[in-house]
């Protein structure tokens, strides 16, 4: 049995699905955020694996750009979580219901 690209793609799909499950099942904003990071990581894994398979370096460059966007997203997202925590003293997303009609 040899290692082929599909192993990496299946692993990335599994990690992405676990991330989706985390966003859906958890109520803590921080853990939901970590699940989003996991999904970004799995997409990066797909990019790098396909880059390796097709012999194109662009996939790795795309992975680097995804990392930059993820870093910016973490900065803003954690700042929002801290701002919400200062206001509501909770990181539970179910308590943010002010916009409910």
């Amino acid at each position: 049995m040899t290692l082929t690209i599909s192993w990496f793609l299946i692993l990335a799909a599994a990690l992405f699905s676990i991330g989706v499950a985390g966003v859906l099942i958890r109520r803590n904003a921080l853990v939901m955020f970590m699940s989003i990071e996991l999904m970004l990581n799995s997409v990066n894994l797909t990019f790098v694996a396909v880059s390796r398979e097709l012999g194109l370096i662009e996939g790795q460059v795309a992975a680097l750009f995804v990392m930059v966007v993820a870093a910016a997203e973490v900065t803003i997202g954690l700042a929002i979580i801290v701002a919400v925590f200062r206001r509501k003293a909770s990181a539970n997303v179910d308590e943010l219901a002010e916009l409910r009609g």
Binding site: F8, G22, Q60
Partner: protein, 176 residues
């Protein structure tokens, strides 16, 4: 064969860490699970000859992002009340159906147009060294790279703005 063994070990670690991250009640354990998944993914990048991306993965994700997460957990405290509160009836079952269905859909869609390159695995004709990656990054994608600089600056400014202008909100609420 060696590559396959490394892949199986670290893919298992990544999956177990990811599932542990989703299921752990304590956010600190979730952060540790995410850290394990990120380190395993960095090892898989090395396996794919993407050495620079692996280094950046360790430095940026396992270093900076995880430090930021742990810092925020420390700041707002470990809050594990209602870790998976049942906001929607049968939420867990629906989540399981959605995520397993998504996995099956991705795999089935991938099988239809499965990526098959010309190169067998283990013949490195593409080395993701810092030289090759930066040739591409600063050659073809210079403008995009510079716009990510702008993005990071805007993100930092936005964080500062959130930290400054978020303080007087409780007073406004008290007057309502």
């Amino acid at each position: 064969m060696g590559e396959l063994i490394v892949f199986i070990i670290f893919a298992t670690v990544a999956l177990v860490s990811a599932i542990g991250m989703v299921l752990a009640k304590n956010p600190v354990y979730s952060a540790i699970g995410l850290l394990g998944a990120m380190f395993s993914i960095a090892v898989l990048y090395v396996l794919l000859d993407a050495h620079f991306v692996a280094a950046v993965q360790v430095i940026v994700y396992a270093g900076a992002v995880m430090t930021l997460f742990l810092f925020v957990i420390m700041l707002i405290g470990v809050d594990n009340r209602e870790a998976y509160g049942p906001a929607v009836p049968a939420q867990r079952i629906m989540t399981a159906v959605v995520s397993i269905g998504l996995f099956a859909a991705i795999v089935l869609a991938g099988r239809a147009a499965w990526i098959t390159g010309s190169n067998a695995f283990g013949t490195p004709d593409l080395n993701g060294t810092i030289e090759n990656v930066s040739d591409e990054l600063f050659g073809t994608w210079t403008v995009v790279f510079l716009s990510t600089v702008m993005l990071l600056t805007i993100a930092a400014l936005g964080t500062i703005a959130l930290a400054y202008f978020g303080t007087d909100v409780p007073d406004e609420e008290a007057t309502l």
